[in-house]
């Protein structure tokens, strides 16, 4: 059969944490599945700027779809971590209250959490909360403790899901920007802006910020995704004030507030802000928000210092006016499933969303037969930084490239960079998110040129063709020998 003639069972649009979870779930069944992504790499949209928190499930009312999928998703992370080996830790979440009024909200959160089925939730006195988290401002009056909350590295999580899906037969098409879906007899013809075609019997729209446009492109429901921007600040490893739990303030009406997050890699993150904007590409940051974030963060954890900032970034939450997830089959178009408005706690809920969408597809008539050779496991990726002296000694003997430390700040070896390239991450950002090379204190000042050379050598492209993250994000203008100074 000509590859162009192939009709996939399911096409999933958008390789963020939802799309990745959905295809990974589907990869356990005897189906042909394709994942379509407009960016040069997976997880490069909403997911890459995620705070990386696995929420406990007390923030949303029991009636919401959000709360149901959040709780279910949270419970699924231990098994996923065991199977896929992405960085994940259940370090617990603390909500810190600074007044009697705030304690009333804490009681409400507690009741909501209990109704949602959050295990081992506790309301804490001042003494209890300070003994749990000595980094808190001693003005704290009490709070909530949810030991089941956790932290995850969001890009490694998405990479691992897609890697596992690919291992079980899912195809991934990057640089595929969906612009039209045409209904044929019993399948969808999906056209990309780049001029490619994909045919599929079922389509899942998990296009994040662009879910509204994709829906429109399929003549399905009309809705509007409103980007809600969040700015975050990353502080160095062993930062002063590094807490041992994720610290939340008592939430406001629409947001969970500015958090203090000890990341799973040992750095400290503060943020995010929450600001509704128009432009879906606006990832800019401002002085005002830096001010705001640090005022709020240092109120909770006074030792945090902005002198220790490594970098800042912004992400966009794809929100809907309902503020709930919108996951259901289209009422206008057949075999078209909407997965939209997946903002916080989207990452936490994502494994449950995968399962939920699988069930929706089944109800829509998709035949699910379990594969006999499904392999849910991925080997633990080698990270030189985490190895003992003896382990590293053996490894370098087998492959000397593990001894060549390319990124000094994060201790990433040449072999790890090559591994990332082999897995399809051929941009500077892709390698950064996969290996952490360039994510440390020097922000790539010492390792960029080394990584550029490794990419050029391994991929076989000239250095001027390498990009930061696809598109027009070139890094090197020209080689000196190609410059004509007489012009």
């Amino acid at each position: 059969m000509n590859i162009k003639e192939k009709i996939y069972d399911v096409a999933v649009i958008g390789a963020g944490c939802c799309g990745a979870s959905i295809v990974r779930k589907l990869s356990a069944y005897d189906l042909s599945v394709v994942l379509l992504e407009k960016c040069v790499d997976i997880g490069f949209g909403v997911s890459k700027a995620n705070s990386g928190i696995i929420h406990a499930g007390f923030h949303h009312p029991v009636t919401s779809l959000k709360a149901r999928l959040e709780i279910r998703g949270n419970l699924m992370f231990d098994q996923l971590h065991y199977e896929l080996n992405f960085p994940f830790k259940r370090i617990g979440i603390i909500v810190a209250a600074f007044s009697i009024e705030e304690m009333k909200t804490v009681e409400h959160l507690y009741a909501q959490g209990i109704a949602n089925g959050v295990p081992r939730l506790e309301v804490c006195s001042r003494e209890r909360i300070l003994s749990l988290e000595p980094q808190l401002n001693p003005d704290v009056v009490g709070g909530l403790f949810a030991p089941t909350g956790g932290i995850v590295e969001p890009y490694r999580y998405v990479f691992a899901l897609v890697e596992s899906a690919e291992k079980n037969g899912v195809e991934v098409k990057k640089n595929f920007t969906v612009w039209r879906g045409v209904r044929k007899e019993d399948y969808w013809m999906i056209e990309s802006k780049e001029g490619e075609f994909v045919k599929a019997k079922y389509v899942v729209n998990s296009a994040g910020l662009y879910a509204d446009e994709v829906s429109k492109a399929f003549n399905a429901e009309e809705f509007k995704i409103i980007p809600r921007k969040g700015e975050e600040f990353l502080l160095q490893r062993n930062a002063r004030g590094l807490p041992s739990h994720v610290i939340f303030p008592v939430p406001g009406k629409h947001t969970k507030g500015v958090l203090v997050i000890p990341t799973v890699e040992g750095t400290l993150m503060v943020g995010p802000t929450a600001e509704e904007i128009e432009d879906k590409e606006d990832l800019s940051t401002t002085y005002q928000n830096l001010e705001k974030v640090f005022v709020q963060a240092t109120y909770m954890v006074p030792k945090i210092s902005r002198r220790e900032i490594i970098t800042s970034f912004a992400g966009l939450r794809p929100t809907l006016p309902s503020n709930d997830f919108y996951i259901e089959p289209s009422k206008k178009q057949p075999n078209f499933i909407q997965v939209a408005g997946i903002q916080s706690p989207g990452l936490t809920a994502s494994p449950a969303i995968g399962e939920y969408v699988k069930d929706i597809l089944k109800n829509c008539g998709l035949k699910l037969i379990e594969k006999t050779d499904y392999d849910p496991y991925l080997p633990k990726p080698v990270k030189v930084r985490e190895l003992s002296f003896e382990e590293l000694e053996r490894l370098i003997e087998s492959d000397p490239r593990y001894g060549n430390i390319v990124c000094r700040c994060e201790t990433v070896s040449e072999a790890e960079i090559i591994e990332a390239i082999r897995k399809g991450h051929t941009t500077l950002d892709g390698i950064k998110f996969y290996t952490r090379a360039g994510m440390g204190l020097c922000q790539g000042a010492f390792c960029s040129y080394r990584i550029l050379k490794i990419i050029a050598r391994e991929v076989g492209i000239p250095i001027e063709k390498i990009t930061k993250r696809g598109g027009d994000s070139w890094i090197i203008y020209k080689r000196l020998q190609d410059i004509d100074l007489n012009q």
Binding site: S284, V384, I463, Y477, Q487
Partner: protein, 420 residues
Amino acid sequence: MKEKIYDVAIIGAGAAGMASALEIASTGARVVVIDREPHLGGILLQCIHNGFGLHLFKEELTGPEYAERFISEIKRKDIDILLNSTATRMAVFQTIKQINVCSSEHGVFKVNAKAIVLAMGCRERNRGNLGIPGTRPAGIFTAGLAQRLLNIDGYLPGKRVVIVGSGDIGLIMARRLTWTGAEVLGVVEILPYPSGLTRNIVQCLYDYDIPLYLSHVITKIEGRDRVEAVEVTPLENGIPNQSKSFRIECDTLLFSVGLVPENELTQSAGIKINPETGGPIVDARLMTSAEGVFACGNVLHVHDLVDWVSQEAQLCGKEVVAFLEGKTRDETQGRVSVGANLKYVIPNKYRLKTKNRFSMRALVVQDKATLMIKQGERVVKRLPLRHVKPAEMFHVEIKSEDLDEVYENGEPLPLQFSLE
């Protein structure tokens, strides 16, 4: 497990590492120099402009020529050199110091030594440290990275360039990029005066009509994929006046906004850091808070001339030798305290019996300043200075005969430095 044993292990083969190695090896001690790069000389090799060596060699050399003077001598000496080798961890025990080293060629091994010299140099502050608002496109480089790409690898990073900060590397790069056919559209400096050396302002900017915007800041970076423009805003009374902001269209932004000593390895061994310099706290012997671990060069405090780095490293080498011979074990040292208008004074202690040499930086720009050095109420030295500014480090020597042997609570009186 592979182990190598030496008298002294030196981490870093730049200007500081090389000069201290030569000093120590001349006494016959067994020395190893460890560096991550495939060559000796460190950052000097990418500094192909001239202006090096005026103080030390009384002639004007390029960076590679300056480095070569040391490299050729090191190769003549019996010094072990481990290149392409990264020191990943350091541990300090009572008598022995241990460094974990990792390399493709030699695998992973431990270096045991009686003394260690920290000579890792510094890194550049970057956009992230400054929290400059705007987007995060490709085309943002530190000046040193751009220098490396251009001078060593032969890649031109962009064609229309704005430079943020008037540090020396940025100024040098303004001229270098112009020569390579790129257009340098301006240098933006937050302070009312340049941070680089005067000679570089003249030779690298004025000679090429490159505008220098003093008291200006970058208030926005634009561009989704690659840098497209920056918004530049003048500071008035220290506050950005947005009504006078202007845009410069460019595809590249270089940051030359200061250097930070690289002390992650130092901190991993629990050595105390001076928050003012970012380098370890050192006593009069240039010894850190860990017995037998010394520091010199840019890892200790950022220097503006390599000549001073070499000089400090030679001094450090002598101290290491004296330490190995047990000559400085029971020395009495007094505290050095930093007073008005000074950022820091290195070292952080002084000794009574021998000559002391101090390096320091001012916090102010001032003509006809006076450096006051006091022991208690008594003025030890009053040094008139023609001109001081934060960008230019200065030195002072104090002879032992100028110092009183006065003790307070069993310690010599603190030596107080201030600038008037």
